[in-house]
Subunit: 370 residues, 2 copies
C-alpha cells in the first residue's frame, strides 16, 4: 500500500498553532564576517581544546556522569560556592527551560521586559505560563519600579539583550527584597563583558550577582559557556542558587529529561574554568574592541546604546536599519536586524576582532559617503 501523501490528522492539534523561533543565521558560505549571533571572535582556551582531544577515546562508549559532579565541583570552586549551589545543563537555554518548568508554573503571571531574549515567551508557551511584558523605559533600560506588582516570578538578562544595557547591583538587590516569594532569575549570559577585570564591585556596578545567591534564597543566576568561553559549538550552561532551587532543577531534569552534559562538553568546560589567564585575556580584548568600536561608530554619528555585553545596538538617523543590514550583507558582513517595534531602526552588531570591526567601519564609511 502506498501512503506517501501528507495526513494532517497525524500531527497533534497544537502543532498547527506553533510559531517557531527563528535563530540568527548560521551561514554555510565561507568568507563572511559573522557579527550576528554574539559568538566569541576568539577561539576557546587551547587547554580546553586539548582536553577534548584527550577525551576523544574509548570512554565515549560509556554514558556521562548523570550528575556532572566533576564540572559542578569546578564551577563551585570558581565562584566560591558549594556543589549544592550548582546546576549544570546542555546550554543555558536548557537550564532556562528547566527553571521555567520548576519555578514559573504559578498562579500569577511572570514578568519580563518587552524587549529581551526571545526564548522567554517560547518557554511560557511550552509550559502554559502567563506573563506580563514590562516595557523598557525611554532609554531602553529596565526600571525596577515597573516591576512592583504581584507576580509568579521575574526574569531578565543582565546585561539585557538585544540592548546590551546592564542593570546595577543595587536595583537587583531591591528587586530580590521586594519579591521574597518569587524566584528572580538573572540571566547573565553576557555578564563577563560588563566590566574590566580589575573593577571593584559597588552598588552601581553592572556585575555578576552570584555572590548574592548566598543571601537570597529566591535568586537564580544563569550562565552559558557559549559567549565569553567561546563554546557556542558545544552546549554547556549552568545555574547557581540556593540548594532548594538547585534541588528543584534537579528534580525537573531527572523527571523529564535525563540527558546530562556529554563527556566532551564536561571535560572542555572543566579545562576552560581552569585556564583563567586565557579567559581574562579574551574577555579584556572583547571589552577593549567594543570600546573602540563604539567610539568609532559614534564618530560616524551612530547612536549606540551603552553596552555591557559583547554586542552593541546602534542606529543612524541617515541610514535605514534594514537596508543597512542588507548592504552590509552585500559586503559579506552579517549583523542582526530585528523587525520589532521600538528597535526597528537599530542593528545589533556583535563585537568582532579588531580587524573585523575595522572592516565593518570601512564599509559603513563608504556607505555614508555614497
Amino acid at each position: 500500500m502506498n501512503k506517501s501523501t501528507d495526513n494532517p490528522s497525524l500531527w497533534s492539534p497544537l502543532l498547527n498553532g506553533l510559531d517557531p523561533y527563528v535563530p540568527g543565521e548560521q551561514p554555510a558560505t565561507q568568507g563572511l564576517v559573522k557579527l550576528n549571533t554574539n559568538e566569541s571572535p576568539y577561539p576557546p582556551s587551547p587547554a580546553a581544546l586539548a582536553a577534548i582531544t584527550d577525551a576523544a577515546g574509548e570512554s565515549l562508549r560509556l554514558y556521562p556522569d548523570p550528575e556532572s559532579s566533576g564540572l559542578k565541583a569546578v564551577i563551585a570552586d570558581y565562584f566560591s560556592v558549594t556543589s549544592e549551589n550548582v546546576f549544570v545543563g546542555n546550554g543555558s537555554d536548557e537550564v532556562l527551560a528547566h527553571a521555567f518548568n520548576a519555578f514559573f508554573r504559578q498562579d500569577l503571571p511572570i514578568l519580563f521586559p518587552d524587549l529581551t531574549y526571545s526564548f522567554y515567551p517560547v518557554y511560557c508557551q511550552l509550559y502554559n505560563i502567563e506573563y506580563n511584558l514590562i516595557p523598557l523605559n525611554a532609554q531602553f533600560e529596565i526600571d525596577i519600579a515597573d516591576y512592583q506588582q504581584a507576580n509568579g516570578g521575574i526574569i531578565f538578562p543582565n546585561p539585557n539583550a538585544p540592548t546590551g544595557i546592564g542593570l546595577a547591583r543595587q536595583a537587583i538587590i531591591d528587586l530580590l527584597e521586594a519579591n521574597p516569594n518569587s524566584v528572580v532569575i538573572v540571566d547573565e549570559a553576557y555578564i563577563d563583558f560588563s566590566q574590566c577585570s580589575d573593577a571593584e564591585t559597588s552598588a552601581d556596578s553592572v556585575a555578576s550577582v552570584i555572590d548574592l545567591t548566598q543571601q537570597y534564597n529566591n535568586l537564580l543566576v544563569v550562565h552559558t559557556l557559549s559567549k565569553s568561553r567561546a563554546f557556542a559549538g558545544m552546549r554547556v550552561g549552568y545555574a547557581i542558587g540556593h540548594p532548594h532551587l538547585i534541588k528543584g532543577l534537579q528534580r525537573v531534569k531527572n523527571s523529564f529529561n535525563s540527558y546530562p552534559v556529554d563527556r566532551l562538553a564536561e571535560v572542555a568546560a572543566i579545562a576552560s574554568f581552569q585556564d583563567e589567564p586565557y579567559f581574562q585575556s579574551v574577555k579584556d580584548k572583547v571589552i577593549a574592541n567594543r570600546q573602540l568600536l563604539v567610539e568609532r561608530l559614534q564618530s560616524l554619528n551612530f547612536d549606540c546604546l551603552p553596552s555591557s555585553a559583547n554586542f552593541v545596538l546602534v542606529r543612524h538617523d541617515q541610514l535605514d536599519a534594514e537596508k543597512l543590514a542588507e548592504q552590509l550583507r552585500e559586503h559579506k558582513i552579517i549583523v542582526r536586524y530585528f523587525a520589532t517595534p521600538r528597535i526597528a531602526q537599530f542593528i545589533r552588531i556583535t563585537v568582532g576582532t579588531e580587524e573585523q570591526n575595522q572592516l565593518l567601519l570601512d564599509v559603513i564609511s563608504t556607505l555614508l559617503e555614497g
Copy 2:
C-alpha cells in the same frame, strides 16, 4: 538580609508531585565490569574519534548548523532515503520527547507495552498524554492483536527493552495497516543487534523497518548512536519517516528547543556512518558474544528470553534475582535489576566483551556451587 532557608513557595506546585526517573548506575569507581546500561563493550570507530580531534579547534566558538544538514545527508544516503525523511536530535531520548509532543497529544490515549522503556510514561506525564498499557503476552512478547483499539498513537521498542525480544516485520506492517490515522513509532535503539549482517529480510525477520517509511506515512523509526555505534558519551539520535512527520518534528524543535546537535557530535556521527566495516565488525562481535553468553547461561540452567538486542533478560529458579545482582556487585560486576512486577525474578545483563562475559559466568558458576 539572610534568607538562607528553604522556601517551599518558590517551587511550582507540580514539582512536589514529580517522580524522577532513576537511570542505571554510572559508577565512579574504576575496575568495575559494567554490564548494566547496555553500552557497547567496544569503543567508537577510530575514524570517528579522529574526526572529533580534528574538530576540536577554533570553529567551536561558532554555533552549530541549526539544521545539521551534513549529518542528515549522510544518514539519508546510508539508509537510501532523502534528507527530508531525516530528523536529527541530541540523543534518541530527545527525539522521542519531540515525537510525543508532535504526534501523541491527541484526544485518544496512546498505546505501549506494560514492560518497556521507562521513559514513555515520563513523556506522557510531561505532555499530559493519556496512555493505555498493553500487557506483554505470557512469553513476554508484544502481540499486535492486543493493539486493536482506538488510539492516539502507538510506540514500542523493537527489539523491546528490557526483554530483548523482537517483533517480526509482518506484525509491524499489520499494525501500520490497521492504524492509518495514528503515528506508529518503532524505537529501534537495539535493532542493529537483531541479526547477522548477511541475513535476508523476510516477513518473519526482526529487522529495521526504515524501508517501510517510504510506503507508510504513519511510521516513524527512531535510532540512537549510543548503543551499536558506541557513542553513549555523546548525544546523537535520529528519526526517519515521511516528510510530513519530519516537518512536524522540525516545527516542535524550532518552537520549543532550538539546540541543534553540537559540532563535535555531528562530525563524530558523520564519520561513524562512513566507517561501515568497523560498524559491522563491532555489531557482529556483540551478536557472537551474545550467542555464546546465552548458550553458557543456559548450560547453567538459566532461562534466557530470546534476545535480539545487546542484552539478555534472564532468570534462574535457584537464585533470587535481586540477591544475585547484589552478589555480582560484590564481585565488581554490575547488572541491572528491576523491582518491577512480572520481571522481579530476572536480571538484565548487557553483553560485554568475551572476557567480561566469561568473568560473569565464572562468578555465577561459583555462586551456584556455593
